[in-house]
């Protein structure tokens, strides 16, 4: 009985390891998110609740579109920015940009990380332009932009 339990435990741990390599799965689909404090942010989510939870931003910018009502907005917080877009009178999270090493992705990558560290955490299913790496998930694209061999920007962009 003890042997069976140990075998089951090892099997379970092995499975969880494989899951980790495939990235965070929700309903069987790969979805990336960003955590700050207690708040988990998925690109494409409605913005109001998230912005309320994040509190007052350090800076705010907005830009109108060419012809339609509604604004694209940028909220700057310590270590990251959130861009929103308007659709049907509601604001949604369009982009999350990590801007310094005060914050990191849930997988543990922050500004300044090496390319090998990114690939180790996110796997080799990426597309690349130069050093830059891009991972596709169901809800967003996740980009790691490199300068001088180190991550200089991390961008989650919603698929809209």
């Amino acid at each position: 009985m003890k042997k069976i339990l140990i075998f089951a435990l090892v099997a379970l741990m092995s499975m969880s390891l494989f899951c980790a390599c495939d990235g965070p799965q929700i309903d069987g689909k790969l979805k990336y998110s960003f955590f700050t404090g207690e708040t988990e942010i998925f690109p494409g989510d409605e913005a109001a609740v998230i912005l309320a939870a994040l509190g007052e931003p350090k800076a705010y910018d907005e830009s109108p579109s060419c012809a339609f009502e509604g604004l694209d907005k940028v909220y700057t917080y310590s270590g990251f920015e959130i861009q929103t877009y308007t659709e049907g009178g509601k604001d949604y999270i369009y982009m999350i940009v990590l801007t310094n090493d005060l914050v990191k992705t849930p997988e543990g990558i922050s500004i300044g990380a090496s390319k090998s560290a990114v690939i180790e955490k996110y796997g080799d299913q990426y597309t690349s332009v130069g050093d830059n790496l891009q991972y596709e998930a169901e809800n967003c694209t996740l980009q790691f932009i490199f300068r001088d061999g180190k991550v200089s920007s991390i961008k989650y962009t919603a698929k809209v």
């Binding site: 830009s63 109108p64 060419c66 012809a67 332009v129 891009q134």
Partner: protein, 354 residues
């Protein structure tokens, strides 16, 4: 008996067609009080029908229809022009609009604003509609639709627009009936007057990009535009309007690619960003925080560009031609009246807010 049945069937079909046609006229968006840019593309046909031709044609996105004032080009330099811009006009749309215009006229200079070079894929159905629905049916329109459709769109919905707009019945307003047969004028030879002032305050720049390579399809269409102009002996001039804000940022990496292209094919390219000779004051010459120029900024930009057209391309004043002068003096007068009216509205709106 058979004849009677045929007449009856034809009558029913005609009544049905008339009903569908009427429904289409009512349900199509009129772009009267909101998103007025949706009427820009169709307004050009007023010029065609009146037999007016132009020395200069502008094509491109909002950065042309908010930066160049044909009435001012006439007033200061005697140059006739038309701005065939539309909101988020993609480069393949610019190409097909140009192809269409060159069937009606042969200008001396065509000006293309390069910001749309950044888009390599169809973007947005609503913007597509604002450019494409206004085109008259032609080979160019078919080409433009095929190049522009997003995955969710169908060609049939451009032919039978009722397929697209049938759900608008719940949002119909008086405007939909008032402008059923003729749309309101929104521009002056393609220039949309904006008299508001909202200073540019943000110093934010564009985000770092994953890939700075401009899409190859954009260069394919730029090639087509260049070849089309070359065939007709028209000077193609590339420009980047002076506006540059974080959402519509023009990257140095992009600029270099356009410079290289222009050099390769012997084209002129003018990047007006940070050009102090124009004299733009970003605290007074924009109506939306620097994204677009207002009328005061556009008049400065136009004056500056007019000098270039005369000096670099030898465009001559047509003020001595009485027929042309009659038409254009009227246009200038209408523009000045509309500008004055809008400025008064802006002042009233501003004082009522205070």
């Amino acid at each position: 008996m058979i004849k009677k049945r045929i007449i009856c069937a034809v009558s029913v079909l005609l009544v049905l067609a008339a009903l569908l046609w009427s429904a289409t006229l009512v349900l199509e968006p009129k772009y009267a009080s909101q998103s007025r840019e949706g009427n820009l593309v169709a307004e050009y046909y007023g010029e065609v029908d009146a037999g007016n031709t132009h020395q200069v044609l502008f094509v491109g996105d909002c950065e042309v229809y908010e930066s160049f004032v044909p009435a001012v080009l006439w007033e200061k330099y005697g140059i006739t022009s038309y701005v065939r811009g539309s909101a988020q006009q993609l480069i393949w749309q610019s190409y097909y609009l140009l192809e269409e215009m060159l069937k009606y006229e042969t200008p001396e200079v065509v000006v293309f604003n390069v910001l749309s070079m950044k888009y390599g894929d169809p973007q947005n159905e609503a913007y597509n509609r604002m450019t494409l629905d206004g085109m008259r049916w032609s080979k160019s329109k078919i080409g433009a639709i095929n190049a522009s459709m997003t995955d969710e769109e169908t060609f049939a919905s451009y032919i039978f627009t009722l397929l697209r707009y049938h759900s608008r019945w719940s949002e119909l307003s008086g405007e939909d009936f008032k402008y059923m047969l003729s749309r309101p004028q929104v521009a002056y030879n393609g220039y949309m007057i904006q008299t508001g002032i909202k200073p540019m305050e943000s110093e934010r720049e564009g985000d770092e990009l994953f890939d700075y390579t401009l899409p190859s399809v954009s260069f394919d269409y730029l090639d087509k535009m260049r070849e089309l102009c070359a065939e007709k002996g028209i000077e193609l001039v590339l420009i980047k309007s002076p506006t540059n804000t974080w959402k519509y940022w023009w990257y140095d990496e992009w600029d270099k690619q356009i410079c290289d292209y222009a050099e390769q094919y012997g084209l002129d390219y003018y990047n007006f960003i940070d050009n102090e000779e124009i004299g733009i004051d970003w605290s007074t010459d924009t109506y939306d925080g620097g994204v677009h120029l207002n009328v005061f900024g556009a008049e400065k930009m136009t004056d500056h560009f007019g000098k270039l057209l005369v000096k670099q391309y030898g465009l001559e004043s047509l003020k001595n031609d009485p027929d042309i002068a009659k038409v254009w003096d009227k246009k200038l007068s209408e523009y000045k009246t509309a500008k004055q009216d809008m400025m008064e509205v802006s002042v009233k709106a501003s004082s009522s807010r205070q």
